[in-house]
């Protein structure tokens, strides 16, 4: 991170000072190249080299063996996030949208701002930098709202996501031992595990930053009410989606140069997104599948819009036919996303294929002969909290909570609000998931 920061800080200044001409472009690509090289070294080298003669040679020599170990076992915390954040800075300076930061410590603080360092949101220089170095005045509203976000984020991570993980982990540890119904349950649970896990982390990051008076961007906006995959990605991991939009999709051509360029740009974005998530076939498959679903919605499903009929009746309300159609599209979008997450969670392509087989082969009963004991039938004492917390979250996320958690909680009278706080706290204290499960996005 130190090296990345120094290179990008230097390149940013050179890009600004060299005026027009080839050197600006050189420094821009030098910065991008060094960032991507660093990312490649830590995340993709092991995947790319595999079991080559060079790796064996490096392992056999003490001077180089540590590099193999480093590539194999070590990923600097948040490398995928701060690399993208740093690249966006140099590109923005190149485009003239931002002025270069001449003070190295200040630039390093932008890259390494602790709440969002490990797993985002990926903030843009203009927004974060101006807040970091404006006059700081502690405000009670910020502390209070930050604390509210922390409580809700902790509830999502510990009470909802970690509990769901107890089921999902058991299933994926030995998937062939389970039945078809359990495979569906684990797939459904994982969808909301990854959502609440990452959403929870984003809220914790926002809450921590807000307590210091820094407003970070919202990373999620009710993705499971999206009616299409394009809309879904405008609501899910927003900071990454907008990064891809601004720095890959639009520069490649976006939607202004006809359908073929759009398709190419979209596929490039989703392929890169898959690769960003991890150096293995399953993540690439996840990204490519998202790309195809994006194009399917954009070019094929859009033509079926007539099925929903009019958007308004003569009184200006949404007609029942339109509501049903929209509901169907929402369910369809969530369902397709859920299916692609099988690749996201599986350790190997083989495992993903087998899980798909379990989900879709008619009459699959698996190897277990003892019915639905285990994960599908949690005991009253230790298992009912899993569906209960999930239902509470879905109710809040899809229906009740119209604003961000801090604003929503602020609308309640003090006694009721404190009862909600206490309920969330007790859920975390007493029913938090016991399996040691780090944040899903920490691995990226």
């Amino acid at each position: 991170m130190l090296l990345t920061s120094v290179i990008d800080w230097w390149c940013g200044m050179r890009v600004e000072q060299d005026g027009a001409g080839g050197w600006r472009k050189f420094w821009l690509w030098f910065s991008i190249g060094s960032n991507l090289t660093m990312l490649f070294m830590f995340k993709y080298l092991d995947f790319a080299l595999g079991d080559s003669a060079m790796v064996r040679w490096m392992s056999d020599h003490n001077a180089t063996a540590w590099i193999v170990e480093l590539g194999k076992y070590t990923i600097p915390a948040g490398i995928s996030f701060y690399t993208f954040q740093s690249i966006s800075y140099v590109v923005d300076v190149y485009r003239g949208q931002e002025k270069a930061e001449h003070n190295l410590p200040k630039f390093m603080l932008y890259v390494s701002f602790f709440p969002q360092l490990v797993a985002g949101p990926i903030e843009r220089f203009g927004k974060l930098h101006s807040q970091l170095f404006s006059d700081y005045m502690p405000r009670w509203e910020n502390v209070r709202n930050g604390a509210r976000l922390l409580i809700y984020g902790l509830f999502l991570k510990v009470a909802v996501a970690d509990n769901l993980a107890t089921v999902v982990d058991v299933f994926y540890a030995d998937h062939v031992a389970f039945t078809q119904a359990e495979a569906w349950l684990a797939t459904f649970y994982f969808t909301f595990q990854v959502y609440t896990d990452f959403f929870g982390y984003s809220l914790l990051a926002q809450g921590s930053a807000l307590m210091f008076g820094i407003h970070l961007m919202d990373n999620f906006n009710k993705p499971f009410i999206a009616k299409s995959i394009p809309e879904f990605w405008q609501r899910w991991h927003i900071s990454l989606s907008t990064w891809f939009r601004d720095y890959i999709f639009i520069p490649v051509g976006g939607n202004k140069r006809g359908p073929w360029v759009l398709a190419l740009a979209a596929m490039l974005v989703f392929f890169t997104s898959g690769l960003w998530h991890g150096a293995n076939g399953t993540m690439i498959a996840f990204g490519v599948a998202q790309g195809f679903l994006y194009l399917f919605d954009r070019f094929v499903f859009k033509k079926l819009e007539f099925v929903g009929g009019h958007f308004h009746d003569h009184e200006g309300r949404l007609p029942l036919r339109r509501r049903l159609w929209d509901g169907f599209r929402t369910v369809k979008t969530g369902f397709f996303f859920m299916m692609t997450l099988v690749w996201f969670r599986s350790a190997t392509m083989d495992q993903a294929s087998e899980v798909f087989g379990m989900l879709w082969m008619p009459g699959y009963i698996g190897c277990r002969l003892d019915g639905l004991e285990g994960i599908a039938a949690p005991t009253l004492a230790h298992g009912l909290q899993i569906p209960l917390f999930l239902c509470i979250f879905l109710l809040l996320d899809l229906w009740v909570m119209k604003d961000r958690a801090d604003v929503w909680l602020g609308k309640f009278a003090t006694p009721l609000r404190w009862m909600i706080y206490a309920a969330m706290a007790v859920s975390v204290w007493v029913w938090g998931g016991a399996i040691n499960h780090p944040f899903v996005y920490f691995q990226f």
């Binding site: 020599h61 063996a65 076992y73 009670w140 510990v158 706290a425 975390v428 204290w429 007493v430 780090p438």
Partner: protein, 455 residues
Amino acid sequence: MKDIAPKMLLRLLVGVVVFFAANFWYVSSGLYRQERAKFSPMASKLDSAFGNGDVVYLGESSNTSFNPWTDTFGYSVSEFLQMYLPQNRVRGVSHDGYHVGLFSQMLGLMPEHWADSGRKTVVITVNMRSFGPSAMFNGNEASNQQEAIFYSHRTALLNRVYVSLHHYDNRDSREMERAKTQWFRTRDLRIGGGAGQHYGSTHGGPGLESAGEEWFYHNTVKWWLRDLQRQYAPVSGEANLARVMPMAEAYLKEFAFLLDEENPRVQALDAIVAKCKQEQVNVVFVLLMPNFDHANRLFGEELTQLMDYNMDFLRKRFAGWEKEYDKGAFKVGYVDVQRLYSDCRLGEYMRGVSENVGIGTVGNPCFDWAGGQHYTDQWYPTEHVDAHIRRFIAQKTAEKILAFQYRDRIQTGVTKPMVPVIKPSINNQPNWSIKMPLADTCLQSWKVFALKHLR
């Protein structure tokens, strides 16, 4: 800031009240009892042991393991110990894969003023292997540490919060694997920093032997394993090299290390003595004997000298404590199973009262260690021994405890122990087809790594 501080303090205060109210409900509803039993089954066993025992035996799998086909008696060491100490209530608490780090934490459940109701003793089994990287960076350690949260008298809900927020050493298998690999690569195996001739990058290259060098020891486990993979390792005996390889690999990973003061398990020993001294509870360390016999067959002196070094390191520590606390009311003792057993059998042999059974093997005429046939896990590097040795361990531990209780013995008299006589018998033969039944979780992945990178 002035207007913020009181508001924050008020809310923190309310939070604390909510916490203690929740704690009251958590305990009184019986939920804590259920959860404690679920997350830490050992904790309730410890409560019972400390509540009802005069001697609490904290052991790992070697306490209870026996061979159902060949062992004459299936009694555990602690059960034998009860037979030797009829005046004492002996309570055994054992768990597979436990070690002194966890035993140290377990003492957190020792009741305050436990020793006030009479002389109490804690017996701690010490397994030298558990001080090494393979045991310390074991994939099960995170769950052990989670369980250990409950070995404490802290507020009930706080224990549960620690579980929810994973407030313990919760390194995952990847992190453990990395730590272990790093240890294997970097830790120097040279005793005293330079004794013997060591090499790393090559093994037995042309000219080395002709140069007259006698010993070609490995600097690190990594190079040793690599040579093993290359089938250059000096494996003795007639066993097929490929078939013995997994076993040899396991022995290297389990025993090829050197103890030092920085070792966390060594520091746990210090903590045990400090805690027992504070509570005035006697402590007896039982230093289990590793399978030197088989280690010698696999690697000869190169490995056994490391094992000897580590055993001596622990012996010196225990002997130092034994001497230091010899005079006061608080006592520390240790039972060196390997030495005591060898002495005992050697004595019998010299007196001609017993056959030389179970001591030396070919190439081990000096009676330094027990024969490998006493180990019940088919020569895997565990310390699981047959009933004959288990009884012997109990006997020697009982003698040590009785020596502590000498005054009590005079007052109460000693009942003759009702202990079955177990003659040693050869009950296990080497099984070279073994598939590593008790391999640690990282072993297999290391093998993949080694196959990929160390050939």
